[in-house]
């Protein structure tokens, strides 16, 4: 192959240019902005300081941070709990039905999460379906206040993020070699041992990828918190948004965003390690 093939140069060059200009550079700018000082007239003043990071530990913001981590962790755990058996059953479903069953997960995966959050709003509102059903069944005497609670936010995130957990889990479970399980059974391993020592380690990349796709958005989806959680600042996402829109404290917002990026880095690293281990086939 000739070395200076213009086609090759253009194809690779264009992508490199784009990724550097619109992915790498912006994130570096966020890191830079996070150690600058808030300005009165401009967005930032070029005085270096770590005060934005220190403010993240201020009890006022630390509460939001911990609350948000809790909500995202709870959502991720529920997604995993609900999604793992579901993905497993999908891999065991009749081959004839599987494309349709998968499609029914893929459609919500691509559907606007704003629209889906709104659908949850309809179900949960005081005059909504859930309350009317419970009233009709005589389970409650008067409508419950379901909206604008933390549980509503968790339910909303569970609803919008569940497909993002199911699909990576399905991909991991489908790759699982049934012969490994048979071998373990022949060697006398019990069901629980097989699950803990073989199935979990081999599907760990899927578990981590799914958690990555539910946990990080779970920290950031400010509109779910707005629509289902009321006016309180619940998520890191709301905190970041407010710094850029109303409080106009860009360095502080940037620092919170760097925190999210670091969390992402941590999870990606865990994913990389688990994938390498699973690929070696030795848990």
């Amino acid at each position: 192959m000739r070395i200076r093939e213009p086609f090759k140069l253009i194809a690779i060059g264009a992508l490199w240019f784009w990724l550097i200009a619109f992915a790498l550079l912006p994130n570096l700018l966020v890191a830079v902005a996070s150690v600058l000082t808030r300005g009165d007239n401009e967005f930032v003043v070029f005085t270096l300081t770590l005060s934005s990071y220190r403010r993240l530990l201020d009890p006022l913001y630390l509460d939001v941070l911990l609350d948000s981590l809790w909500l995202a962790a709870a959502t991720t755990a529920l997604c995993l709990l609900l999604g793992y058996p579901f993905a497993y059953l999908l891999t065991r479903s009749p081959v004839r039905w599987r494309p349709l069953l998968l499609l029914l997960v893929i459609v919500p995966f691509w559907t606007s999460s704003l629209v889906r959050t709104y659908a949850i709003m309809i179900v949960l509102k005081t005059q909504g379906l859930l309350n009317q059903t419970l009233l009709g069944l005589g389970l409650i005497a008067e409508p419950l206040e379901l909206l604008y609670t933390e549980s509503a936010v968790i339910l909303g995130m569970l609803y919008t993020l569940l497909p993002f957990m199911i699909l990576p889990l399905y991909a991991a479970l489908e790759k699982l070699d049934p012969r490994l399980i048979e071998a373990a059974r022949d060697l006398g391993a019990g069901k629980i041992t097989i699950f803990l020592r073989i199935v979990i380690p081999l599907t760990l990349p899927g578990i981590i990828a799914g958690s990555l796709l539910t946990f990080l958005p779970g920290l950031g989806m400010f509109y779910v918190a707005d629509l289902l959680g009321g006016a309180k600042t619940l998520l890191v996402g709301n905190l970041i948004r407010d710094q850029f829109l109303s409080a106009r404290d860009w360095p502080f917002g940037a620092a919170a965003s760097v925190l999210l990026t670091l969390l992402m880095g941590l999870l990606l690293w865990a994913y990389y390690l688990s994938a390498r281990r699973a690929n070696r086939g030795l848990p």
């Binding site: 090759k8 194809a11 784009w18 999460s113 629209v115 709003m121 400010f222 940037a254």
Partner: protein
């Protein structure tokens, strides 16, 4: 059916019910001839008609469709070329390029949104059409690359080697052999990008200005005021568009090479 099988089917149905009942309720109520009550009062198109009488809304929908078309097209061109290059060539920094694409796809929307906002602010670009377009192209590219790459993996390398032996240039090989074989995945990538762009709230929230309104943000501001049948109708239309796009993309991706 054994008892165990029954429990399994019930579990699948339960989760599917959870995924689809709220959407179903939304769609049904968009046709209900009653503004406030939950009761079914008969079928109406009234809420859809109100939508089409709102010029601001129509403008926002048009803007969104325009941005989605342009960004999907640009991302598809760049993403397809990149996927082919990643498959065909060894080059310096290939691993890093792959890693960057993966990270870009995994980046939380809010992080990407403010990163691009800071970039545009430091370039003093006014927020609006152009900034929105650049942002949408950026988040669409990795999805096109992944979609196209997944189809290339099934390629017969001999075809390309034969063309090379016969003296075809790299561009000729791309234009005459690779692209026609990849077409279904390329179109699917375009459709998925269009959907992503049409539905995006988070990134757009930070990178568009008051001069250029788009549909998802318009819906967001309407939804904040509460549940109304007009919003039900609007959301149903959005669902319909997404559904059509995804079904087409899935059909294309399932086609055999």
């Amino acid at each position: 059916m054994t008892g165990k099988r029954l429990v399994q089917v019930a579990y699948l149905l339960l989760v599917y019910g959870f995924l689809y009942i709220p959407i179903g309720v939304l769609i049904v109520y968009s046709f209900n001839d009653s503004k406030y009550s939950l009761e079914w009062r008969g079928m109406t198109w009234e809420w859809y008609e109100t939508l089409f009488d709102d010029p601001d809304l129509l403008q926002a929908a048009l803007n969104s469709a325009w941005i989605a078309t342009l960004s999907a097209t640009a991302a598809t061109v760049m993403g397809t070329l990149a996927a082919v290059a990643i498959y065909r060539y060894q080059f310096f920094g290939k691993q890093l390029l792959n890693a960057l694409l993966f990270v870009l796809m995994m980046t939380p929307d809010i992080v990407m949104g403010i990163a691009l906002l800071i970039l545009f602010a430091s370039l003093s670009l006014p927020l609006g059409f152009w900034t929105l377009l650049l942002a949408h192209i950026t988040f669409n590219i990795p999805f096109v690359v992944v979609t196209v790459l997944s189809r290339i993996s099934g390629f017969d390398r001999h075809l390309l080697e034969a063309a090379q032996d016969l003296g075809a240039t790299e561009f000729q090989i791309f234009r005459r052999i690779v692209l026609p074989l990849l077409m279904p995945a390329v179109v699917a990538g375009w459709l998925l990008s269009f959907t992503l762009s049409m539905d995006d709230v988070m990134v757009s929230f930070f990178v568009t200005g008051p001069t250029f309104e788009i549909l998802p943000l318009k819906i967001y501001s309407m939804v904040r005021l509460g549940v109304t049948p007009e919003v039900n109708a609007l959301c149903t239309i959005m669902l319909g568009v997404t559904l059509i796009m995804i079904l087409m993309a899935q059909l294309l991706l399932r086609e055999k090479t």
